[in-house]
């Protein structure tokens, strides 16, 4: 059942969920964070599509457009971040952190410069633009470097909270964002803290058969799967892990100890992403059967969000199949 304590949206499962894009939440978050005069925003010729235009209108002096130059953007931001500023840099995730990864690694993370990297248009939902613009590797890229916090918001409201939280902590932070409108699952009363994971759906009974765990809008598919599984008397918990680094190991391990089986869900490569982070934790602390929902060693392609979720097996029906498989493995 829906976890009441998290004050989730009343429209969840209603069939007419409120739809908002993560980037819109991010843009509002920038306005909120911008009340701090040290916050500056930089884009690489993508002002509107990365939703910097609300900030730039309100704070034109603290907004910079560097042209189509992601490496320059990251390095300029690194300079600002060691000069008392809190720069947010903005481009599509395939280009930032895709193209400017080394500038981010060495000049922002190793240098401990206070830079916040917003990777926009991540995942398959970038749709018709095709594989060149569909980032399926950014979590892996960012998670593997030291001194980088990695946030993957669930919905527009969580994106807004993550943005404000990122501005509030010292040091580099990566925020993964997506273009399309997706269901709003949380409300303004839903908690968010860097380093915390949240069970959105909890079992009705004491018994837990499986942990469904992941982050980002694709978790809506996991929630639908949990609801349908309950009808089949399979009791699950759906854990939202918006903070991939640092990871809420305590919350995760306590649920895994009870369930003994895990399915990870992400709109990202299954190599190096959220599933990998969870499985690294479990192989050290509590190895249990695990299945991975995500893109398996392929590039994306043009198509609608639905067509691509179907092609790469990210739908709730795919999650149900994976769940049945993992439960079978647990019992054998």
């Amino acid at each position: 059942m829906i976890h009441k304590a998290l004050s989730l949206s009343h429209t969840l499962f209603s069939g007419h969920e409120d739809m908002q894009a993560l980037r819109d939440g991010y843009g509002r978050g920038l306005l909120e964070a911008g009340e701090n005069e040290n916050v500056v925003v930089i884009t690489a010729d993508l002002e509107e599509s990365t939703r910097c235009h609300w900030f730039s209108r309100l704070y034109p002096d603290r907004f910079f457009d560097v042209g189509v130059a992601e490496q320059n953007m990251a390095a300029v931001a690194a300079g600002m971040g060691i000069s008392g500023k809190i720069p947010f840099i903005n481009s599509y995730a395939t280009f930032s952190p895709g193209r400017n990864w080394e500038q981010i690694r060495t000049l922002c993370a190793y240098n401990d410069s206070n830079v916040k990297i917003a990777g926009h248009h991540a995942g398959l939902l970038t749709g018709p633009d095709g594989a060149t613009h569909q980032s399926l590797e950014d979590i892996a890229l960012m998670r593997s470097m030291a001194n980088m916090r990695v946030l993957v918001p669930l919905d527009a409201l969580e994106a807004q909270r993550a943005t404000v939280a990122a501005a509030g902590v010292r040091g580099p932070v990566y925020i993964r964002l997506q273009r399309e409108k997706t269901p709003v699952i949380t409300t303004k009363d839903t908690p968010f803290q860097i380093g915390r994971a949240y069970p959105l759906w909890i079992p009705k009974t004491k018994r837990v058969d499986v942990v469904l765990i992941g982050a980002g809008p694709v978790l809506h598919e996991a929630l639908k799967a949990a609801r349908d599984l309950e009808k089949k008397k399979i009791h699950s918990v759906v854990i939202n892990v918006p903070s991939i680094v640092p990871l809420d190991t305590k919350e995760i391990l306590s649920w895994v100890a009870r369930a003994g089986a895990v399915v990870s869900v992400e709109e990202h490569s299954i190599y190096g992403g959220i599933g990998s982070a969870i499985s690294e934790l479990l192989s050290k602390k509590n190895p249990v059967p695990m299945e991975f929902i995500g893109v398996d060693g392929q590039f994306g392609q043009s198509g609608t969000g639905y067509e691509l979720y179907k092609q790469y097996k990210l739908l709730s029906s795919d999650i149900i199949i994976a769940t049945q498989k993992v439960i079978k493995r647990k019992r054998s």
Partner: protein, 285 residues
């Protein structure tokens, strides 16, 4: 070089046809870029129907000229030119950007014969062109390498790294063509990140520079032939174009960079293009 009047006229009318194809493709895709493709229609017509040595029936034959599209987002115009050249059936054009189509939102080398390399991420076409041209030199191949790039992608450091390198190796088998339409996403190039004096910058890096009116096919072809005759340097042709060329409400408006026409706008665009027939040389405006 002599090209008959009739031949030039034909190239203009092909360009007009390509523009109409692009409008239809973008309308049915419901997303994609309008300004760049329309602005480069005359040059693509000149390339595919006059300049390039190529064979649509044997797209990968060894001695073909290579055309690398660095600014991959303008691919609808290249797709239209490939289809009209006979690389694939015209009816496929309307599958642009849809699931399982060879016409990916940004060009993918493995999806469509005739696409020399994958692009979309800006700023790395010229480097790849250098790689192809250096390979041709090593293999003593005679083909030429053309790289089409945009003005906006001169923001990328990678573009300038390539400009300097081509100068270093005096790549006379390489010709770059810049779609100098003065727009990028966030506005006019000179407001977002000033590029001028662009000619001087290329010259300083060891290039032969030719400025042309990108809507004057004869002048453009003349420049390409001049480039072939320059043997000590690479040549860049700065093609001054009008983004959205041929559709009055799109011309010079940067908002049309990444927007497709809706049904009504597409109908109006097609009406205007049909009226223009094959004649849209800029002097005749």
């Amino acid at each position: 070089m002599y090209i008959s009047h009739a031949r030039i006229k034909e190239l203009y009318s092909t360009a007009n046809q390509l523009r109409q194809d692009v409008i239809g493709m973008l309308e049915s895709a419901g997303s994609g870029h309008s300004a760049g493709p329309l602005g480069m229609a005359d040059i693509m017509s000149a390339f595919y129907f006059y300049i390039l040595n190529h064979d649509p029936k044997d797209p990968s034959y060894d001695e073909r000229d290579r055309l690398i599209l660095s600014n991959g987002h303008i691919c609808p115009i290249q797709y239209a030119a490939l289809a009209r050249s006979g690389y694939f059936p015209l009816r496929k054009l309307k599958t642009l950007r849809s699931f399982a189509s060879p016409l990916q939102g940004h060009p993918h080398r493995l999806s469509l014969p005739g696409i020399e390399t994958t692009s979309g991420p800006l700023g790395s076409g010229l480097s790849q062109g250098i790689g192809v041209a250096l390979s041709a030199r090593l293999d003593k191949k005679k083909f030429r390498t053309y790289v089409v790039l945009s003005d906006g992608e001169h923001g990328e450091g990678n573009t300038w790294e390539a400009i300097m390198l081509a100068g270093k190796y005096r790549l006379n088998n390489l010709t770059a063509v810049i779609d100098r339409n003065n727009i990028q996403i966030d506005g006019y190039t000179e407001d977002v990140l000033p590029l001028e004096p662009l000619r001087d910058k290329y010259e300083a890096c060891g290039w032969n520079v030719i400025d042309v009116d990108g809507h004057n096919i004869e002048e453009f072809i003349g420049a390409v032939f001049e480039a072939k005759a320059v043997y000590e340097k690479p040549t860049v042709i700065i093609a001054h174009t009008i983004p959205g060329k041929g559709v009055d409400f799109m011309e010079r408006e940067y908002v049309w960079h990444g927007m497709p026409p809706n049904k009504k706008q597409a109908r109006e665009a097609l009406r205007q293009l049909r009226k223009l027939g094959g004649k849209i040389k800029s002097e005749e405006e």
